[in-house]
Symmetry: D3
Subunit: 63 residues, 6 copies
């Protein structure tokens, strides 16, 4: 604890490194907790598996 | 917000379209909120990764 | 399975009844699965615990 | 989308504001996405509801 | 990591202690990982916030 | 309900069987509930998608 679950699109390895670094720094600073106890899971989702406004993202992107 | 996480089996694209459409309509109507702010993530799970009653689904299906 | 986690605001009991009824019907129909095996958890969140666009909802509502 | 679920301890309103601001900025920058589409839910957990190393946090804190 | 999210009813402190102890032991044994790196969050849900078979648990319990 | 979400590394089928069996037994015993109503989802995460202490697990493992 703390545990962060990040739901988003496909990411490059570099983006994952920067995301984990940044989210951990912010959390550690705000909560005054050591970085070591902060864990993060990045859930990469296909655009076909995400809905916004009643439509699949993959279909919204085609418009 | 609202955010819906749907854990279920593998689905066809058509099922995903109907699921997102239907879940969004119900949520929008009940909460009197615009569809645009409702997001959904569909998490497709292998039967080997789901347990019910202490057994993997993949093994229960074989019986 | 399927399991639905619904993150949203505080709701009345009647809204929860309609939400569970509607989400279950849609899921059962699309997946051709019996309603009995569909479970839903409604997570009610204070506006102070939800962020959109970098701000707490409770602060956005004041504008 | 993206959607961030943050599981952690009780926080002050100021901490929540800083957390949402910081996590959104990092995500927006790394993913090159507008802040407006990034939502965050902060889940505050009692120390009695969190386990680490097989023990409740509330009991570990007493040692 | 590993991280376990347990969604269930209201529990006593003793139940939470036994649950965290047991779930950690099983996970540590199966994954051959030290208990120290296993975290668990217990999410207690009101029966009014849980739906099964299209109905709120609180209403099913009345039958 | 109860519903357990298990976030961890890649597992063999045998590990999944033992994990589901063990977690269900502990939950059923502690909550005095039938195994049949306990569902579990195992989320296998690549080491590149997990962050601890501000670093991706895949990079920590190289050290």
């Amino acid at each position: 604890m703390p545990f962060i679950s990040f739901d988003g699109p496909k990411l490059t390895k570099e983006q994952k490194e920067n995301l984990v670094k940044g989210l951990t720094e912010v959390s550690s600073e705000v909560l005054k907790m050591p970085k070591e106890i902060i864990s993060i899971v990045i859930r990469e989702n296909e655009a076909e598996n995400v809905g916004v406004g009643g439509e699949l993202l993959v279909n919204r992107h085609k418009k």
